[in-house]
Symmetry: C2
Subunit: 235 residues, 2 copies
DNA sequence: CGAATTCAAACAGTATACACTATAGACTTA
DNA sequence: TAAGTCTATAGTGTATACTGTTTGAATTCG
């Protein structure tokens, strides 16, 4: 199986950073199927560069939890139900506070971007376009997270949100769930517009909670094989 | 200036992991002076291995925030007052909850280890032995964090706590501050012994708060040059 | 026909070599 | 003597080559 994914170098800085950005975007967009295998030498050949920068990028992604390294290439991690619950716990602790910050610091530009993302999400939900919904969801989050002045806080949130997002691809394709998500986004957006930090805090709390419940409910039938596949990761 | 620090390979796994552990321990113990410069090729020569594993380890540490990469070697990051405040904000959000978990899950062995660490801290405080106090403090934290079942939560905490610990070397050498810290540790320890999750939560909240206040108060005179040295980090 | 054993390909880990760039410090000049 | 400029060098970034280990598949044996 050859690489079905087209990698091309993007953006700034050294090769490692470019490759890192590229692969991370690919993962964030859900363009990497769970069984898919990433091999440094293949990607390097495709980009016309040597293994080392690609390898560095892949290892960084492994360390951030975006990938797991096996003895034969790198693949997406298979999160157990416990893993997802753990991630949601951290998000529950961090995101409400971050949202409260954003309510204070979001400027007019940011609010406009949020409004656009919200509209896109609504349109995608009614049209049943999972990919667009996915993307609008990420855009919304990235926008308000960008307004959070505590970079460590926002980056930690972004990382963990990305991890579950990969798994949530199926959940987010579910129409009723999309409706719940959109409602939550709108509630949060309105708190932002009113610059109401308390409301933003509360609504974000509720949002995360309902997102988790939705996920757990929907993934129960398929079992998401908990104890079957323990943590993973080598060395 | 040659390397005043002796690196030797330790522990398990591949060379990168060994070197990583070694350097991280060195940093955690405060054995790296702020101006100190780490150069991959030097460390590699000292260990009798090639640059690559050392380089990988250093880059990982940079990515985790333990070091910053400059064009001439790697050094400790110089945290501004804002940086420290940001880190403490995240810790305030995460640690109380984690402590509540630990109150449930700590076993007899863990409690014994905590008691030992607490005693060591008290002894070091009365003796005025900053290094031992430092170490006992870390041992205490690592122990209860180890009992937290949510690995992502505990690892995130450990990382951020380490970051400020490096800066807090001076603060923790201050006798009155040591007394405050020891009192907080004892209060938390007692909550653990009673398996009182609520008390653990509350006391950890108070502990973090007082630690932050202590730090901010003590570092005010030296200014800790805020706007002077912005974020740092290259590429 | 199924299970154990062997073998070779695949891929990560490590080593070495070269290229490129940013800085420290010398050197110049006012 | 202080400010600007220039250059040698230190040290990262990237490339290539080699090594070791895992694993999947072929092959043999029960």
């Amino acid at each position: 199986m050859a690489e079905p994914i087209e990698f091309k170098r993007i953006g700034e800085g050294n090769l490692r950073a470019q490759v890192y950005q590229q692969i991370r975007q690919t993962i964030q967009r859900g363009e990497l199927s769970p069984g898919q295998k990433l091999v440094d030498v293949d990607i390097a050949a495709q980009l016309g560069i040597s293994r080392m920068p690609v390898r560095d990028a892949l290892m960084q992604l492994v360390h951030e939890g975006y990938l797991v390294g096996t003895t034969r290439g790198f693949t997406l991690p298979t999160l157990t139900a416990t893993d997802v619950a753990d991630i949601f716990e951290v998000r529950r602790l961090l995101e409400p506070r971050a949202a409260a910050h954003a309510a204070r610091t979001l400027d007019a530009d940011g609010l406009k971007t949020l409004a656009a993302a919200l509209q896109a999400a609504e349109a995608a939900a009614t049209a049943g376009d999972a990919a667009r919904f996915f993307q609008a969801n990420s855009a919304f989050r990235n926008c308000w997270l960008g307004a959070v002045e505590n970079d460590r806080l926002s980056q930690t949130i972004a990382r963990f949100a990305d991890h579950v997002l990969v798994v949530r691809l199926k959940t987010l394709s579910h129409q009723p769930t999309q409706a719940v998500i959109v409602a939550g986004m709108r509630a949060i957006y309105e708190a932002f517009v009113k610059r109401d930090a308390v409301a933003a805090y509360d609504r974000m709390t509720h949002f995360i909670q309902s997102a988790e419940e939705r996920f757990m409910k929907l993934s129960q039938p398929q079992q998401l094989n908990d104890e079957a596949a323990p943590h993973q990761g080598k060395s």
